[in-house]
């Protein structure tokens, strides 16, 4: 009886010690930079490695976009370097090369030839109806959304997740409010991101038909854009988004009949474009119109960066 009371007292003493230490250490622990305590469940469980998983799920979403027809690490994936689901939104510049249909190459033996009957063997896109024969357009593209959401949750700093998700929500699913919410979340996680602001502008312009707001958002995106030096993919992608922002702003100015300002924006777009000739035609056209109306004063336009 005596000994059991001793054990009980010991247990209580240890519990008091634990609670006391916890109360004392907890505030200090929270201040530690490496602490995961304030993160979400993924951050607590996975730490920074969650970004690797995020990338996997992003790729998974693209595999779903192809209804499972997708290269593995053993296949030639040059035609799948840029996710097609992102490329088709117009949000990113394609880095894909090669033939999309034949990433597996011809079968090299009878066993491989036979095995190809048991997995998806045709290049399809969900927004075109997936593997079904009817390619009339489909809202099956919704199937990529869970993976994009998961990828976003795991890596909130990946802005492409937000823009791609918002595009498909808005374009194919007609869920404008959800798309708007996704972009706001993206902006919250990546303040001032010009990719997200560009997509938000498109949403205002195309879905809410609020061109003023759209122009303001694009202008903010243009202001936030910073050039990246170099010839790598990151620099190219950075230039591509600026080209799109400036082009949109140019189009908006042209629609508002602010020709000089439109020319300015198109020239800015041209300065970073991989295909400057395509924009030159528009600039020439605007300049001609401007010269034709030389006597009239140029309209006040938006301030470019």
């Amino acid at each position: 009886m005596k000994s059991s009371r001793t054990y009980l007292l010991l247990v209580v003493a240890f519990l008091v010690l634990s609670f006391g230490l916890a109360a004392d250490l907890q505030p200090q622990f929270r201040e530690l930079r490496w602490s995961r305590a304030d993160g979400d469940v993924f951050a607590v469980l996975l730490g920074d490695s969650r970004k690797l998983f995020a990338n996997e799920f992003y790729t998974k979403a693209d595999a779903y976009y192809h209804s499972g027809f997708y290269p593995t690490i053993f296949d030639n994936n040059t035609a799948f370097k840029t996710a097609h689901m992102a490329e088709d939104t117009g949000a990113v510049h394609s880095n894909n090369h090669g033939e999309e249909e034949s990433f597996m190459g011809p079968p090299i033996d009878w066993l491989e030839k036979f095995g190809r009957n048991f997995f998806p063997d045709r290049h399809t896109h969900l927004d075109e109806g997936g593997p079904a024969d009817d390619l009339s357009g489909s809202d099956n593209v919704r199937e990529i959304l869970p993976w994009l959401k998961l990828s976003t949750d795991l890596d909130p700093q990946n802005v492409q997740n937000y823009t791609v998700t918002a595009y498909w929500l808005r374009q194919r699913m007609h869920k404008t409010d959800e798309a708007y919410q996704v972009l706001l979340e993206g902006l919250h996680a990546n303040p001032g991101s010009c990719d997200i602001l560009f997509e938000l502008g498109r949403l205002y312009a195309e879905s809410y038909h609020d061109t003023n707001r759209a122009e303001n958002v694009w202008a903010a995106a243009a202001r936030n854009w910073k050039p990246i030096k170099g010839d790598d993919d990151t620099a190219a992608a950075n230039n591509f988004i600026y080209e799109k922002i400036a082009t949109q702003l140019g189009e908006a100015e042209r629609t508002a009949d602010h020709r000089q300002s439109a020319i300015d924006w198109f020239e800015k777009a041209q300065s970073v474009s991989r295909t400057p000739a395509a924009l030159q035609a528009q600039i020439d056209d605007l300049k001609r119109k401007l010269a034709g109306a030389a006597e009239s004063a140029p309209p006040p336009g938006l301030k470019s960066q």
Partner: protein
């Protein structure tokens, strides 16, 4: 045949009286239901991620059940010494091996039926599609694949004494085949001789379990596999089942039971 069926009957009874199956089945249901309740942009028609998750759990569960149930059959008979009164009866060792195989295989089939029934209900209620023939093809291929796994594990249980080492080795082999089996011929081409020849020999010798993994076709609503190829895959599975069982009978026939 009646002896084989009698042995198989005991194996089936063992499976449904143990907790493994129920635990895995309930875990699968719970995970799927929790995932189904997740709100993804207020769209309740999104289903493929759920189908994929459910099928993944079904595959993992079925492999776990097949390997662990089969791996312990003969070692447990030896350890508990029930093998002695059994073989003291007019039952040949071949009949015992075949009975154990049939029991494990049928038990796996019954398990698969339960799992796929749940899968079908889950997918059907959300998709409002009931591709019965596609499911039939998938279940049969899955079941015959499990037949290969059961036969392989049974052979392993006669070669390796401990069920745990046998299970581990079988899981590694099966996982390896499912993940890289399809690509081994391409990998072999990049290797120098004699590794290339060895890799190619392994490629042709291993049972290509990945043929039977039609999850992507089911998840993404692809059309039916041509029946001709489906039938050939079944024959392919039967050939490997036969080979492994023959090996198991040969090993067991020479083994002293004491």
């Amino acid at each position: 045949m009646k002896n084989i069926i009698a042995v198989a009957g005991v194996v089936i009874k063992e499976l449904y009286r143990r907790k493994d199956f129920y635990v895995l089945f309930i875990v699968t249901i719970l995970i799927c239901l929790v995932m189904a309740s997740v709100n993804i942009f207020h769209d309740d028609k999104i289903v493929r991620y759920l189908k994929e998750l459910c099928l993944l759990l079904v595959w993992i569960s079925s492999l776990v059940i097949a390997v662990t149930t089969t791996a312990r059959q003969i070692p447990a008979e030896r350890e508990n010494r029930t093998l002695l009164p059994l073989l003291a009866k007019p039952l040949t060792r071949t009949q015992l091996v075949l009975g154990k195989f049939l029991g494990c295989w049928v038990a796996c089939g019954l398990t698969l039926l339960c799992f796929y029934l749940f899968f079908g209900l889950l997918a059907g209620t959300r998709e409002h599609m009931w591709p019965v023939l596609n499911y039939f093809q998938a279940i049969m291929l899955h079941w015959f694949m499990l037949g290969i796994v059961v036969a392989l594990t049974l052979l392993g249980s006669l070669v390796f004494a401990a069920p745990s080492s046998n299970s581990t080795i079988c899981f590694v082999i099966i996982g390896g085949i499912l993940l890289v089996g399809r690509h081994l011929d391409h990998v072999a081409l990049t290797l120098p001789e004699p590794t290339r020849a060895i890799s190619q020999a392994i490629y042709f010798a291993i049972p290509h379990l990945e043929f039977f993994d039609t999850r992507d076709l089911i998840v993404h609503n692809w059309p039916l596999i041509h029946w001709e190829f489906w039938g050939l895959a079944i024959v392919y599975a039967l050939a490997y089942i036969g080979a492994f069982l023959t090996g198991a009978c040969l090993v067991f026939r020479r083994k002293a039971v004491n």
